[in-house]
Amino acid sequence: MTEQGTPLGIGIVGVGGIALSHMAALRSMTSARLIAVCDVDAARAAEVAHVERCAGYGSAEELFADPAVEAVIVCTPNMTHEQLGMQALAAGLHLLMEKPLAMTPAGARSLAAKAAEQGRALAVGHSHRFTDQSAAIRAVIDSGEIGTPRFVRIAMNGGWIWPGWQSWVLNPTLSGGHSLHNGVHLVDLASWWIGEPATSVYSVGQHATSEALEISDYLVMELGFASGASAVCEISRGERPRGASYLELTVVGTEGVISREWDAEGVMAWTDAGLTAWGVDGAAERTFVNELEAFVAASRGTAEVVPPVSAAIHAVEIAAASEDSLRTAQTIDIGVRA
C-alpha cells in the first residue's frame, strides 16, 4: 500500500491535547502527510480539519475507510485503545498507538498478535525514547563508558494535575491509574537503559492534590531486574508550586554515573513567577518528529519498530502490576526472579 518516496498518508483518531503535538510534527515532515482527522466531537474534528487542511470525520470508521489513509495515530483515552487499535489493524492500517498500548497485558498482546497477522507496523507512543537526552544517555551506555548499568533513577515531577473531576484520567477505570497513564514512559526508559525487562515492581503512591483522588497523582515505582539491577521511577502531577517541574535522570553503571538534572538546559531564570529552568532549543518539538519518522520508517518496512512491541507490552505488564502493588502494598513479581 505504501510507496517509497511518497509521503505516508496519516489519519489521527481523536484530536485532543496530544494530537496537537503529532499534528505539529507532521507539518514539519516531508515523509508523511496528514490526510484526515476524526473525533467523537464532530464539530471539533471539522474545526481541526479546517485548520490542518485535511478531511474531518465524526467517526473512526469513516477515517479507517478513507483510501488515502495508510496509517493512523490513535490519540484517544486509554480505555478505547484496544478496540480502536483492533479496528485500525483489521482495516489494514499501520498503527501508532498513544501510550499505553492497552489497559491490560492481555489486550496489549492481542493487539500485537493482530498486527503480526495483518503484517502491519504497530508502534506505541513512548515518546521519551525519542528525546535528545534519552538518546544521548543510551549512546553513553552503549559506548561502555559507565560499564554495565545497574541503577536508574527517573523523576518527572510537575504540578499540572489534570483539570476537572470529570476527567477520564482521574478515573482509574478509564485510565488504568497513573502507572498506566504516565508510568509506562518511565518503565520503558528504565528497561531500555538497564537493557533487560523488569521482573518485579513495588510501588508507593500518594494522593498529593486531594485525598478525594482515586488515582495516585504522586507515584514511585521500584523495579527489580533479574541481573540484580534496579530502578526508581517517580512521577507526579501533584507538585507545588504548580508552575515548577523537576526532572532527574540518573544511570549508575559499574564504572561511572550519568546524570541530568533540572537545570541541565543551562538556563535558570528568576522572575515574578519564581525560579525556573527554561528550555532553549525546541527539543520537545523534535521529540515528536523523531517518533513519527521512526514510525514512518517502520511502516515502510525500512526499519524495525521503535520501541519493539515486546517493550510496549512489557510496559503495560509492569504498569498493571504497579497498580496491583499500590492496592496490596506488596511487591509484584513478573516472570521469574533471579
Binding site: G147, R150, F151, R153, A155, N157, S200, Y202, V204, Q206, A208, Y218, V220, E222, G224, F225, S227, G228, A229, S230, A231, V232, E234, S236, E239, R240, P241, Y246, E248, T250, V252, G253, T254, E255, G256, V257, S259, E261, W262, A329, Q330, T331, D333, R337
Partner: protein, 170 residues
Amino acid sequence: MTASLVSQPGFVRARAAVRAAEIGLLRAVAVDIVASGEADALRVLGPAAIEIIREATGPASIDLQAHATADGRAVTFLGRADHAVAVSAHLSALAGEHREYLRAAVRLVGTHGSVLVDLLGPMLDVRTAAGAVRVPFGVSGAEGDPRDATETLSAITESARSGRNITTTW
C-alpha cells in the same frame, strides 16, 4: 570521603526547612550516594544514607522492598513510612582504588515545595587548560550522635535476598 554528609551545610539547612514546614509537610525523600572504592555498598554507604533519611523523616517504622546486585556493589530500596512518607535510596560502590564520593544528593519533597541538596557542595568549579577540578569550601554543621543503623541495614539485606517486603524502623 571522610566528611559527614549529615553535617553538610546544605542538608542542615534543608533539614531545618522540613522542621519549620517551609515546604509544607514532608511527603517523600530520595537519596542517592555513589562512591568509588570498597565493594560492600550497604556496609560502607548505608549508615550515612540511613542517618540522612532518619534526620529528614524522624524516627519511623517503614515497610520497604530492597534490591541488590550479587556483588553487593549496588543496593536500592523503596519504602513507605508509617506517616506515609515515600523513601527511596540508592547506594553504589564503583570499581576504583580511591574512596571518593562521585554523587551524593538528597531531595526532600513536601506538600508545598521541594528541596534538592547536592551533598558534595558547595564547591567551586575550577577549569584550566590542564583540566577541571572541584574545590569544596564552607563550614560543616554540628555533628550529631550517630545512631545505630544495624537493624535497618539487616532488614535491607534480608529484603534484597528474599525479594519480599520487610518492615523495619529507623
